[in-house]
């Protein structure tokens, strides 16, 4: 399609890549965190809970700034990770990190609700049959929370597709490297007469997210039907 310029296509591709990675990488962590918050008792639990919600509460710019402080080349974690070849500053990986962190509370909340809805009696039944806690989780809990995991993933994906404030603050806007769709949209909106171009990009991002949403609905329904048992 030629109604998007090459730079815009780059932004679309990059946004997809960033959102997919942000979602996939944070998913296991989100599941673990959700289970921990829903089922375990440990000191500092409420602290973890607050921390997870922080990106939701803070203005995105602040989150981005904090990321910069922490994961920037001079930041403590950034400096630590750099020798391992993990660099976030001004890279798409940083965009994914920002998107993942911004989406994390949404993901965790969704999964956590599902975990809380699982009947512990089923998990008990599995354990009496010889399944260790890990096996119980993998064969009973996880399949049962799958609709929640899917919901969490799609929320995270949608959020990651739309995330702007933290991302641009953390990794700036470098066309082809860190320019995501929302950054491009923002740029168009800053100049008089840029609305039409912005709208085209908005349409693209809506189409992508809606496609993902429909796919997740379909998947979720299939899973739910299986669990309902017919």
């Amino acid at each position: 399609m030629d109604w998007l310029g090459p730079e815009e296509w780059q932004a679309v591709a990059l946004s997809l890549k960033v959102a997919v990675w942000a979602t996939l990488v944070s998913l296991p962590l989100g599941v673990v965190t959700a289970v921990a918050l829903a089922r375990w008792e440990f000191p500092g639990k409420q602290l973890l809970n607050g921390l997870v919600h922080l990106p939701l509460i803070l203005p995105p710019v602040v989150t981005g700034y904090l990321l910069l402080l922490t994961f920037g080349t001079r930041g403590p974690l950034g400096a630590l990770l750099e020798p391992l070849g993990i660099v976030f500053a001004f890279r798409w990986t940083g965009a994914a990190l920002a998107a993942g962190i911004m989406a994390f509370p949404l993901m965790v909340r969704a999964i956590r609700l599902s975990v809380e809805a699982v009947d512990p009696k089923l998990e008990q039944a599995a354990s009496t049959l010889g399944a260790s806690r890990l096996w119980v989780f993998g064969t009973v809990t996880l399949p049962l929370i799958l609709p929640g995991v899917i919901a969490g993933a799609i929320l995270a994906f949608a959020k990651a597709m739309g995330e702007f404030g933290a991302t641009i603050t953390f990794v700036s806007n470098i066309p082809g490297q860190t320019q995501t769709l929302p950054s491009a949209i923002y740029a168009f909106l800053q100049v008089p007469g840029g609305e039409a171009s912005a709208l085209r990009l908005v349409a693209v991002s809506v189409v992508i997210a809606m496609g993902a949403l429909l796919a997740s609905e379909w998947l979720s329904r299939r899973v739910a039907k299986r669990v309902a048992g017919t």
């Binding site: 089923l122 354990s127 009496t128 049959l129 010889g130 399944a131 096996w135 049962l144 048992g229």
Partner: protein, 361 residues
């Protein structure tokens, strides 16, 4: 082969304080609704951590509050048939059944899937999910799932409660076989007199969280003071041996000098077995009655008469070395002038002995 339980636990509705030793075989727990049966079973399974006490199977300590031992359920090698099925809703029946097999040690010699499926009559259901099963079907799958886990201890909480008589009759022999051949200790909760009589090696009666009575099945169930299943279920056990199967469908049994005629029993000639004779099936006669349909007329001596609160009385008889219980009315006790030492005849119809009341020894 034995299970030893000694636990104390306080629940809002119940103060549990139970101590019993279950020998090899099937130990039936019973008691009224809310007596604490499920709670005890859960403690043995490790799903409930008792406040205090000790639980061991064949010397293996599962729980010991003193020593700080508390094996997690998955290390206890159980097969637990829950009171409410608890099938995994997201798995097919087949996967539900196979669930525990994976965790059984290699060569644990568990049951074979095909055999269990056939016994339970769930072959047609294997590819369905629990949501599409009837109540009884669910319960049968739950039984299968527990049996297939190659357990070292079977816990069954009213496993047959929602099944029809015919189905029960098909599954009961299986539990008997487990008891007799596989020698897995079984803790079994049941309210059904016939089931208890047929399966129980030993019986623990729970009352308000306490073990009010326990002992060998024959002993507890023959004790007129207990009759824990209600007075109608009082009865006595006779140990007998199959002498011959007759052509007219009757089996001749010998119990220490007494001859018993019963509808054909499945055991081979020469097999020792035990027969439960229910007290209300036994009629007493001062002289040997003639021209009657009852085939079993056993000479006996009155040992003890226990008058009930109501119109009934339980008469304990000795017939040779065997004990029998007869439930009669007080009016008959007076009319026949029954008293300890009196010699009389116990009359028992062959068909009065239910199939479920005959069991391998």
């Amino acid at each position: 082969m034995s299970l030893s339980v000694d636990i104390r636990h306080a629940l809002p509705g119940l103060a549990l304080d139970v101590r019993f030793e279950a020998p090899a075989g099937i130990t039936v727990l019973f008691g009224r609704s809310g007596a604490g049966k499920t709670t005890v079973v859960n403690a043995v399974a490790g799903l409930l951590r008792p406040d205090q006490g000790r639980i061991s199977v064949n010397g293996r300590v599962l729980f010991d509050s003193g020593a700080g031992v508390n094996l997690p359920p998955h290390r206890r090698r159980l097969g637990y048939v829950f009171q409410e099925a608890r099938l995994f809703p997201h798995m097919t029946v087949r996967r539900n059944l196979a669930y525990g097999q994976r965790f059984a040690p290699k060569g644990a010699g568990g049951e074979e899937m095909g055999r269990v499926v056939e016994m339970l009559g769930i072959g047609a259901l294997l590819d369905r999910r629990p949501g599409a099963l009837s109540g009884g079907e669910r319960q049968r799958v739950a039984i299968g799932r527990a049996l297939l886990a190659a357990p070292k201890l079977i816990l069954a909480d009213e496993p047959l409660a929602s099944l029809d008589e015919a189905r029960k009759a098909e599954i009961l022999p299986y539990f008997e076989r487990l008891r007799d051949e596989v020698a897995v200790p079984i803790l079994y909760v049941s309210h059904a007199a016939a089931e208890v009589a047929r399966l129980a090696t030993s019986v623990v009666v729970l009352e308000d969280g306490r073990a009010a009575r326990q002992g060998a099945a024959a002993e507890v169930l023959s004790d007129p003071a207990v009759t824990p299943l209600g007075v109608r279920s009082a009865g006595a056990m006779l140990e007998a041996r199959v002498v011959r199967h007759h052509a007219d469908g009757l089996s001749e049994l010998q119990a220490d000098g007494l001859t018993l005629w019963l509808p054909r029993v499945p055991q081979a000639e020469g097999t020792p077995l035990r027969v439960r004779v229910e007290a209300h099936d036994v009629m007493l006669a001062l002289t040997r009655p003639e021209g009657i349909s009852a085939l079993n007329v056993l000479p006996a001596t009155v040992r003890e008469i226990r008058m009930g609160d109501g119109p009934g009385a339980l008469v304990q008889l000795s017939a040779g070395p065997n004990r029998l219980l007869a439930r009669v009315t007080r009016r008959s006790v007076e009319a026949l002038e029954l008293r300890p030492g009196l010699e009389l005849f116990a009359v028992l119809k062959a068909v009065g002995v239910a199939k479920e009341s005959v069991a391998d020894l």
